[in-house]
Symmetry: C2
Subunit: 362 residues, 2 copies
């Protein structure tokens, strides 16, 4: 049977901790956050297109036009539009079911990759994906585990077990974001890798797991997929989509299947960043002679004695830093954020506060 | 001879250390920096008008319209327009000579007060001015010395000597901004007061001192004053003004006359602030429940864990502070400053840098 590999890119999350640049209506994946001239979703497709027979983006109605604008090479039918967010299992399961129907008689292997992560070593990424595809062909659910370089409390971890024939390893289990002590223990053992949320799996294997573990959700998705490329799509979506179980693929599939020995991990030996907050983003930017990292035109920033600062001057105004090392300053036309690299993870608290006030600016 | 008292308000300095709110074209004295609804120059005239027979503002051509707009009660002839800045002696000496000619046969006493200082205790200020006028009538050059409350290195000091009959004291000398050690010594002796740059003196006494100490400048000012209220004014100004000696009244008159025993100081027992920088301005603002002091609408600011910060949201955008205690954030439509209260004195360095780049935004 002909094997084909298809990349799925769920593009939904707003990237709350990158406020005020990232907004619900203009989320993180639509921004060029690394100064490369490509937005995160463009960079994601740049990485995936050479490795796959097709790429499917799953996004919400508010972002369809922006996605189409940014990805003109993507056929319109390869953008799957969710009527509303129903979490990652519905998004990926829908794509798997649609792909399966669009490629009858093929051995469809799919890989799901976030739209808003940054990887610069494309060759090492491609090598990991190839190993993951080979392992998925052995009917594993395969994840790619990133080598932990610090005891991060911002990521989930994969507990790595014995090697299997393809070069991957058994997954003993997944853990959610640990506390600092646990993260340090994980790092010391060398047996844990960061979970970057990448899954590679045979469509049939994924859908079979889903039918067994979440039968209602599986049935709903199959019915929607059957109608997807027909004139019934909207009617079926309207009827079924709001009823789908809201669950992450991690809880629906990865954890229970890992417990039964069915998940493998491929070591990803490439740089990876989820650009989770301004501190993280700062690491990706070039440092100027003044020690400041600028997302935008360095000419818009004048700094005195402010090394380690991260500045995003996006309003066209001049931003001046005086004696504020490690500051984070994000200047947009309607909102300004001033914080520090150490406090950057708490930007979500700001968005929560703005939401509680009525939600303008978020 | 009828005695009359006239206030002179030199209004020129840009207030560099309050950049980016204060600009060369829109200087500090034109701003409401205390949230009272009155600009600094309006507040200055509010204090002086009840105490004096007239008020004269000396300013530059770029600010004439703004001064007239802000001070509609001031007769047009009471705004003396300098063709170019020639330092404080020329400004005050011109006003003295013009006043002397406008009030022939009167004993004209004048007082010079900066346009951009803040004093809220008008009664105590009025009492000090009355004592100063009485002392000036004894032919002293009189200054008002502010009680030092900390070893400030931002102000000049007046060395206070023996009392004289009117309730004032002899001035033993003036010192410019001292270093921290010297400032601490001054504070410990109790014999030093801050020099707020206020001078009260008989016009005739001032002009006689000037004729003796700076005869060329005195002659030039007398010739200009003679032409001031005639159609020759512009021609004489054009010819003479650029030739006038550029010198501060402190160096031209106060220091040499003090050395000869001719200067007195009246203790000013009122609050006083020269609003010299953002730290100083912060002290004048009301502290919100979040510990933040806002120059503007507190609704424009959202702060989390940033007590002691000073924010000026003047661009209409929302300013968010997260975990930045004692920050200074000044948001204007074309420039943003982020610094700290401790670094605020160095804002002049920023303006110097901008000037060296070509001077936009200053």
């Amino acid at each position: 049977m002909t094997q084909s590999f298809h990349a799925i890119v769920p593009a939904g999350g707003a990237g709350t901790r990158l406020w005020p640049l990232s907004r619900q209506g203009n989320p993180k994946f639509l921004h060029d956050l690394t100064g490369t001239g490509r937005t995160l979703i463009q960079g994601t497709l740049d990485r995936l297109a050479p490795l796959s027979d097709s790429v499917l983006v799953v996004t919400g109605q508010p972002h369809v036009d922006a996605v189409a604008d940014q990805l003109p090479e993507l056929p319109a039918e390869n953008v799957l539009v969710e009527p509303s967010p129903r979490d990652s299992m519905a998004a990926i399961g829908l794509a798997a079911a649609v792909l399966n129907r669009r490629h009858p008689g093929q051995d469809v292997i799919l890989g799901s990759f976030a739209a808003d992560h940054v990887i610069t070593d494309h060759a090492a990424f491609a090598a990991a994906v190839r190993t993951a595809v080979a392992t998925a062909a052995e009917d594993y659910v395969v994840t790619i585990g990133i080598g932990a370089t610090e005891p991060s409390t911002a990521f989930g971890y994969i507990h790595v077990g014995d090697p299997i024939a393809t070069g991957a390893h058994q997954v003993l289990g997944f853990t959610e974001k640990p506390d600092a002590e646990t993260a340090a223990e994980y790092l010391a053992t060398g047996a844990y890798r960061w979970n970057a949320g990448m899954f590679v799996v045979r469509a049939r294997v994924l859908l079979d797991h889903l039918a067994r573990l979440q039968p209602t959700l599986a049935a709903g998705l199959e019915e929607i997929a059957a109608a997807w490329d027909t004139t019934d799509r909207d009617a079926v979506l309207t009827r079924l989509w709001p009823t789908l179980t809201k669950i992450a693929i991690d809880h629906a599939i990865a954890e229970p299947v890992a417990a039964a020995g069915g998940v493998a991990v491929v070591p990803g030996e490439f740089d990876w960043d989820d650009v989770g907050d301004w501190r993280s983003l700062g690491r990706l930017l070039t440092t100027g002679t003044d020690g400041v990292r600028t997302l935008g035109d360095p000419q818009d920033v004048l700094s005195l004695d402010s090394p380690g600062s991260v500045v995003a001057p996006t309003s066209g105004r001049r931003v001046v830093l005086l004696g504020v090392p490690d500051a984070v300053v994000v200047d947009t036309p309607d909102a300004l954020l001033v914080t520090t690299r150490d406090q950057a993870q708490r930007v979500k608290d700001v968005v929560d506060r703005l939401a509680s006030e009525g939600g303008s600016l978020i």
